[in-house]
Symmetry: C2
Subunit: 209 residues, 2 copies
């Protein structure tokens, strides 16, 4: 079926939110860890983390407008650091629960049953239960003018990953590490590899590698 | 293991590219269709499409710097339109092949064996073989200052989806529609639902819905 903009505009709010949130394709499943200058930890689920660049190594994610209170945003601006922690199946309910609207004095680590963990480099908590974790330094923010969302960019300062997930060519097998994926606002999925394909060149059929 | 920024900086270029591209979590698998003002179609695989907002309905994706020739970018700027087409297992090799560096006068539709398809609203080709397709009007671009990548934002003008993928609450079951997912630069994966979870509220355990 073809659904026009006019029909989308007529959807009720929650229906439209479910609908549009499903359309980007599958979404990355991450917990972003931060800490306030008073030392209060915060943890929030984000499905918008994307690769920004490899040299310098950078990650980005989109945040909703800061007109409402956004602890992740204010902590990043205060300390300059955040962590990205892949969600695995074993903690998907705890991860989802971090999206509840807790007060600023409540740490989602405590409220949702996850464990903060620190390194010397990053002034923000990692999630101990995650297998793949990335420590970032805030670099820049870009405001999307149409709806006031903010695209946050961070430089990768360190990566924590299981030894057996790192392949000979630098590829990190995140499926092997148990990373899961999101559809829409609330659906969590395991993955199963179809294949890796060789670098594409004009006139040459890609091979499974 | 913990891998520091210093060690990442010492990786060779391809190794680092594979490594960093794997770290965001799983990535959405989409083909973006455009057309030049002369009517030449273009199709390119993108793993950076994300949800930007539901009201107005918007999508975004990150492009590499335009210092090298980027047909997708120039076509969007010329016509103001692009399509987002979910990649399904049946076309993952053709989709991957669109990343080869074809000349501007070669259409990836022809070169890779995919079929352009049009509607009355969108001045850009859809991929006939895709099941879920989104027609967008270009709205704004935001340059990431650190590495000159560009975050392109479009307003959704129409959506094409199989009837049986649209659920009662607006959720689109993209797994049912066969949408696949990407890890790194070249690994393609099927998905399998773990569960959908109820809206999270403080003090209430999320339920499977």
């Amino acid at each position: 079926m073809l659904i026009s903009k006019r029909r989308i505009d007529e959807f009720d709010k929650l229906y439209r939110t479910n609908f549009i949130n499903s359309l980007s394709g599958f979404k990355s499943a991450n917990l972003i860890g931060t800490i306030s200058k008073e030392g209060k930890t915060n943890l929030a689920i984000f499905s918008s983390v994307i690769h920004v660049g490899a040299n310098p190594p950078m990650m980005g994610f989109l945040m909703r407008p800061v007109s409402v209170e956004r602890h992740t945003y204010s902590n990043i601006k205060e300390t300059g650091y955040f962590t990205i922690n892949h969600i695995i199946k074993e903690i998907f309910k705890q991860a989802h629960q971090t999206s509840a609207r807790y007060e600023k004095d409540v740490s989602e680590f405590d409220a949702c049953g996850l464990t903060p963990e620190y390194t010397q480099t990053i002034k923000a908590p990692y999630v101990k239960e995650s297998k793949i974790k990335i420590g970032c330094r805030f670099v820049e923010e870009n405001q999307i003018k149409t709806n006031d969302t903010i695209f946050i960019v961070g430089e990768i300062l360190e990566v924590i990953a299981p030894d057996d997930a790192l392949m000979n060519d630098g590829y990190v097998d995140i499926e092997k590490a148990g990373t899961i994926v999101i559809n829409g606002l609330d659906s969590y999925h395991d993955t199963k590899r179809i294949a890796r394909l060789s670098y594409a060149k004009p006139g040459v059929e890609p091979k499974e590698i």
